[in-house]
């Protein structure tokens, strides 16, 4: 079986975010990019599934040349093949999902893993959109995954607990932290990944329905009062919470 995993290339979570001069985009200066943290869980689950049932894994990423860095990293973790859907232009989640769905279809992948969210635009929707476009069954925010024959059972994180969800192949799963412990790339894996070819393809042009009007930093929060250094400050703290903030 062909197993696909879709990965995105995002600003490091430690990065300071600055806005570009157009007031609508991220200023990439000085920002390092990483494999989207949730996608590492997706990659690990794809690898574990292949180890169990055999088959072939392919990673797909949509974006500019820089995304090759992320593809190399997941190849080094053990993914067999990589495809870059090369497009530098702005795409909303829907346009991303359409391009990914197209590629998944042409790869004939029956099982697909995504991260539950990309930590740039934080929409948490590309997996579900892609599945819906493909007509695949989809379970999102998954913390445990099992495949027996055609049948899939997952635990999905919800407020205050977990849902046990069942479905069948073809399916798309979005990974939440807790699903597994992503492996580190071995030296051998890193060497092998350098020799692998990343297939470049041109996705169909974007057709966006989300127009960005502005991008701003949130209003800075004013640092508040330090009320003291020991327990004698506690009555004043509790009084402020009650009388000034009115939250308790």
């Amino acid at each position: 079986m062909k197993i696909a995993v879709c990965v995105s290339h995002v600003p490091d979570t430690a990065a300071k975010i600055n806005i570009g001069s157009d007031g609508k985009t991220l200023d990439p200066n000085g920002v390092t990019f990483i494999v989207n943290p949730y996608d590492e869980f997706a990659v690990e689950e794809a690898l574990k599934t292949k180890e169990k049932i055999g088959g072939e894994t392919v990673a797909i990423s949509l974006g500019g040349n820089a995304n090759k860095e992320t593809l190399r990293k997941v190849l080094a973790m053990g993914i067999d093949n990589a495809v870059l859907l090369k497009d530098d232009s702005y795409r909303d989640s829907f346009s991303v999902a359409k391009a990914l769905a197209e590629e998944i279809k042409s790869q004939n992948a029956e099982l697909v893993f995504f991260g539950k969210q990309s930590v740039d635009f934080d929409n948490s929707v590309v997996g579900q959109l892609t599945a819906e476009i493909l007509g695949y069954n989809c379970i999102s925010v998954v913390v445990s995954f099992s495949l027996e024959g055609n049948k899939i059972t997952c635990e999905r994180e919800i407020e205050g607990g977990k849902e046990i969800v069942e479905t069948t192949l073809p399916a798309l799963i979005t990974a939440q932290k807790g699903l597994n412990d992503p492996r580190y790339a071995s030296l051998k894996g890193i060497m092998a990944s350098k020799k692998k070819e990343i297939l470049e393809k041109q996705p169909a042009a974007a057709n966006n329905s989300v127009e960005i009007i502005s991008m701003k930093k949130p209003a800075p929060k004013q640092a508040g009062k330090i009320l003291g250094t020991d327990a004698t400050a506690v009555p004043e703290l509790v009084r402020l919470l009650r009388e000034e903030a009115k939250v308790i």
């Binding site: 989640s93 635009f121 934080d122 930093k217």
Partner: protein, 322 residues
Amino acid sequence: MANKILVFIEQRSGKIKKSSFEAVKTASDIAQKISGSVEAISIGNEIENLEKVGGFGAAKITHFKNADLENYSPSAYADIIAKYSTENNIDLFFFAASSMGKDLAPRVAVKTDSGLAMDCILLNCESNDIIATRPIYAGKAVIEIKLTSPKKVFALRPNVFNPGIPTDKKAEVSVVNISSPNLSVKVVDIKKSEGKIDVAEADIIVSGGRGMKGPEQFKLVEDLAQVLGAASGASRAVVDAGWRPHSEQVGQTGKTVSPNLYIALGISGAIQHLAGMRSSKYIVAINKDKDAPIFQVADYGIAGDVFEIVPAMIEEIKKIKS
């Protein structure tokens, strides 16, 4: 365009979630500005107090009923909403961006060919356009967006929009029995974390970090949470150390929360942690390092030892509560 708005009413165990009332109220405020109308849809088995959505501004609610739909089924729920929307010429969809709403909204968007604005924290109208504000980069920036598609889906971050005080207006309730729903994806069971409030839904959160020194000392975090009726949360450092479950992690790779009050105990305030909680209405920090970055976002702080201050807080709060 008639601007017909459909609000999805989420239920768990037959009870409507508060975030759905927030969505109805917000939809009805928007409807007034764009001369639209608001109706609601619910899916499940028995659901209590459906007519209550009337008090928040929905004139009617249609309840699609089937015993197999008591738990969530993404496939069935999306099909039902899409079919209803075609039959009733819906233009705009409102969801709460809860775990169910985040899963369902994009599916409905594909089925109805709608643009999608997720996790909105503010909606404004400008000459009949709805401008949505939403955080990106875990709240390190915000964008204003406009959907250019004819049909539109908005999912609202829970606990941000004020549901206001409901009127005693009752919505007209119609019940439609559904036979053989599409259960290709189906929740077969729910495991609840017993007796605990989830950080994503709490009005008050008490979180502990590495400064709590070890898993046993989290008893203090839980005790303070208990006297406040709060949820307990954690930094990633203590989740990765195995002191706390992942479901409690607040931050960029955990949960994004915006409670009325967030109390950080022995948490340094790394950028990834701040990303998840900085939009809390009030923030209190207890940390023995007065230069810890958490104090830069805290409204009130005590630069001292958690093991001295937290017990005193518990006593003081018990005192005022009795």
